[in-house]
Amino acid sequence: MDGPDELIHQSTRLKLTATLNSLDVGEALEFGRLKAILGATDGNMTTHLSALEKAGYIDISKDFVGKKPRTRIALSRKGRRAFQQHVAYLKATIEGP
């Protein structure tokens, strides 16, 4: 059994990855909606999203809807796998050796 994923285990990032993991594979959530769900600030969100993107756990796509910029975030395949492994680790910790 692998150890905990330190990047995911931080409380805001844990909520963030858990929320994104509830979506379908490849499905993305808009920045504003994700921010509202987590109750986070813009600055806080940017910091955590950067850390997860750097690790390859999330995919961030930017486009325009009309003239309005839109940022969408999805859990990558690597991120989904890392999240599931972290959940498995947590369950194993509770169940004990």
Binding site: H9, L14, A18, T19, R33, A36, T93, I94
Partner: protein
């Protein structure tokens, strides 16, 4: 980095709550267009009943037929989307018998209730059917989430207040406040 047993329990609880929250928001998003459709129907049909009472029956018949067709098409569309999801446990066609049974129950309920209650005035009939749906939203809200329950409660309150306190323009009240509640509720359910 070590995670204690208590920390692991807390983390799994955070994960479960995030998942539940997302599932509730998804259910709201699915329910929202139905409220928008039927809110629009309440506005149009009640509005016509108030402005041109002679057209009332035709307005309700036409609007209800449109609403039923739109709801079935929307339900089929949402069902297809659910089935296309990789993690969906929804079986192909599993909703069809449920919808048929639900439709049958609703189609039987109103005639049977009219038999039991006896002849009703037009205003009573309107309030009776509107209250049925308002309470149906409250029942559904007990499973879907509190927002839908609240929308049903506000709609029911609007019907009762309109029936008891609004004079000759009851239907106008129902168009504005009954239909308006459903439309505003539909927009609220779409918001996170």
């Amino acid at each position: 980095m070590n995670v204690s047993r208590d920390e692991a329990v807390e983390a799994l609880d955070v994960i479960a709550r995030s998942r539940d929250q997302m599932l509730t928001l998804r259910r709201y998003a699915r329910f929202a267009p139905f409220l928008l459709i039927w809110g629009g129907i309440w506005v149009v049909a009640n509005g016509i009943t108030d402005i041109a009472p002679a057209w009332s029956d035709r307005a309700w018949l036409g609007c209800t037929a449109l609403g039923v067709i739109a709801s079935i098409l929307l339900g089929m569309h949402l069902g297809r989307r659910s089935r296309s999801r990789a993690d969906s446990a929804v079986r192909r066609g599993a909703w069809v018998p449920r919808l048929v049974m639900l439709g049958l129950a609703i189609c039987c309920y109103f005639p049977v209730m009219y038999v039991v209650l006896g002849p009703l005035a037009a205003r009573q009939t309107n309030a009776f059917i509107s209250l049925f749906w308002a309470f149906a939203y409250m029942f559904a809200g007990a499973w879907v989430g509190w927002r839908l329950f609240a929308i049903g409660a506000v709609a029911a309150a609007a019907v009762v207040f309109g029936y008891l306190a609004i004079g000759p323009h009851y239907y106008l009240w129902m168009a504005a406040c009954g239909g308006g509640t459903l439309i505003a509720g539909g927009l609220w359910l779409r918001k996170i």
